[in-house]
């Protein structure tokens, strides 16, 4: 019997070594240094290219000018970053709650599933951005229209990912619970929901980036504040440097929100990870 255990362990060991630690330290360093080095190289090329060819700043400012603008205009940038980030976060959270709730309904109610699921998949295919102006008509020019639009476009990937996660459980695992007189709630809490967590986080990661896009689109159309508004305002005044600085800040806000979702996933994985 010990022979089996030995082989079993070794096979298993060989199978689950994480990619990042699989190689030597130099490999791991390369995995960090190569992408960073490449990015620095591109920025350097941009800087040198712009200086050598004397491209007007309106067309393309050098990275150094963008970074200087980020520092000089930090108060303005921060002022506009706050509403964009907050609206994106709130829209994303609402989309998550709504998406998971509707996915649960789809999983447990056959009529709801038949009525909703094909339509949801169909709606996924519509370029939903085209509907943004209509949200202004429906919700007015305040932040509620941007929130509603962010929820609207972030919701679809979350509901579809969650529903497929909840429905994609091992039928025998459910049978095992039923054979022990387990209730539907126990099956949900002990099997379906934990099994769906990786799917839910997959949907949330797409949803969070879409929520930001939704808010910025809303700000493009009508807003008195926010990074989307700042980009439109700066480009209207041919201030390309400030527009690009605002875009960099938008990237940072996006990374922050995405990072929070990834951190939450990491925490959940400690308990519900498969390794």
């Amino acid at each position: 019997m010990s022979g089996v255990s030995e082989t079993g362990v070794n096979e298993a060991d060989a199978g689950f070594v994480p990619l990042a630690s699989s190689g030597r330290a130099s490999d791991r360093a390369a995995a960090v240094l190569l992408p960073c080095g490449f990015a620095v190289l591109v920025l350097l090329g941009w800087e040198i290219g712009v200086r050598l060819t004397h491209v007007p700043t309106v067309i393309l400012p050098p990275p150094s000018a963008i970074f200087r603008s980020m520092w000089d205009d930090r108060a303005i940038l921060l002022k506009h970053a706050v509403p964009t980030t907050v609206e994106s976060a709130v829209g994303f959270l609402l989309a998550t709650v709504l998406g998971v709730a509707i996915a649960v309904l789809i999983t447990y109610s056959r009529p709801v599933r038949l009525a909703l699921y094909p339509n949801l998949v169909f709606f996924q295919l519509i370029p939903k951005i085209a509907l943004a102006p209509l949200f202004l008509i429906w919700f007015g020019i305040g932040s509620s229209s941007r929130l509603a639009f962010a929820v609207f476009i972030a919701f679809f990937p979350i509901v579809i990912a969650t529903a497929s996660g909840l429905m994609n459980v091992d039928a025998n695992m459910v049978r095992l619970c039923r054979s022990l007189t387990g209730t539907e709630w126990q099956i949900f809490a002990h099997i379906r929901f934990p099994a769906a967590l990786p799917y839910i986080f997959g949907g949330m990661k797409i949803g969070v980036t879409l929520a930001i896009i939704g808010v910025v689109i809303g700000e493009f159309i009508t807003a008195q504040a926010g990074l989307g508004y700042l980009i439109i305002f700066a480009t209207a005044r041919a201030d390309t440097t400030v527009a690009l600085a605002a875009i960099v800040v938008l990237c940072i806000a996006g990374l922050l929100l995405f990072g929070l979702v990834a951190a939450a996933e990491h925490l959940v994985n400690r308990r519900y990870g498969v390794r």
Partner: protein, 269 residues
């Protein structure tokens, strides 16, 4: 057929004229014609037969997960009307929760039965030790081999002291060597934790090695084609497989199973 060896005791379960018909694309399909047989307390009963003979359907009905279309099942004098808390199941795949450790997986039925886990941890750990998984309590299924996972699944099926253990082709996904080892391990384990077992398999040798009694299922509609008592006592070793009696019984069973196969091929459902 060789003379019967161990005396059958009291019947724990009575399967009475049980039939199961279900609709496939509107067409009724007879999964089980009409079968009647007792399952004796403490006996290891194997259901043998070709695919589609209704073995697994019968097992699901014994688990209370499927209702018979006709007839009924008496479990300890009561009519079986649904799932019971004192039944354990092992499937072909281990079907463990991938995010829980081996020990937590073994304790899982107690969680579903809403029992306190703490008093059972020791017993669950000892079960894992007894199947050679002493060092693997905290490992998750992805870190275990197929045979190790199936051993965890067997411990899980025993942890709540079920009166009936149902096993649906539990070793057919394993390689030949591991399968032999698992057969031996299961026989040893059942020596210590005596249970009534209903075991489903395709393998004639596995059936003869493990069972006290074998039912060959087959025919159209499917029914019991043979009810064979295995004349070997418990505490069997692998050497049994080399004896003339063992191989003679396998050959006789093979004849019956081949007839069942031929019928299944000639009239597919």
């Amino acid at each position: 057929m060789p003379a019967s060896a161990p005396e059958p005791g009291r019947a724990l379960i009575e399967v009475r004229e049980v039939g199961k018909t279900y609709a496939r694309r509107g067409v009724p399909v007879v999964a089980v014609g009409s079968v009647s047989f007792p399952i004796f307390d403490g006996e290891f009963l194997t259901l043998l037969g070709p695919s589609g003979c209704g073995k697994s359907t019968l097992l699901m009905m014994l688990a209370g997960l499927e209702t018979p279309s006709s007839g009924g099942i008496m479990f300890d004098g009561e009519r079986l009307s649904g799932a019971r808390r004192d039944v354990g199941i092992v499937f072909q795949d281990a079907t463990l929760l991938p995010w829980k450790s081996a020990l937590e997986n073994v304790l899982f039925p107690l969680r579903i039965l809403r029992q306190k886990l703490a008093p059972h941890r020791r017993a669950a750990a000892q079960l894992l030790d007894s199947v050679g998984l002493a060092g693997a309590h905290d490992r998750k299924p992805a870190e275990l081999s197929g045979g190790m996972r199936q051993r965890v699944a067997i411990c899980r099926a025993l942890v709540h002291h079920p009166r009936l253990l149902l096993m649906d082709e539990p070793f057919s996904a394993l390689d030949a060597i591991t399968r032999d080892q698992m057969n031996l391990l299961l026989a040893e384990l059942l020596e210590r934790h005596r249970r009534t077992v209903v075991f489903v398999t395709h393998s004639i040798r596995e059936a003869v090695f493990l069972s006290d009694r074998i039912l060959v299922l087959g025919g159209r509609p499917s029914g019991v084609m043979a009810d064979v008592r295995v004349p070997f006592g418990r505490g069997r070793s692998m050497d049994l497989g080399d004896t003339a009696e063992f191989n003679l019984l396998c050959r006789e069973l093979r004849g019956t199973v081949e007839v069942a196969h031929r019928i299944a091929e000639e009239s597919p459902q």
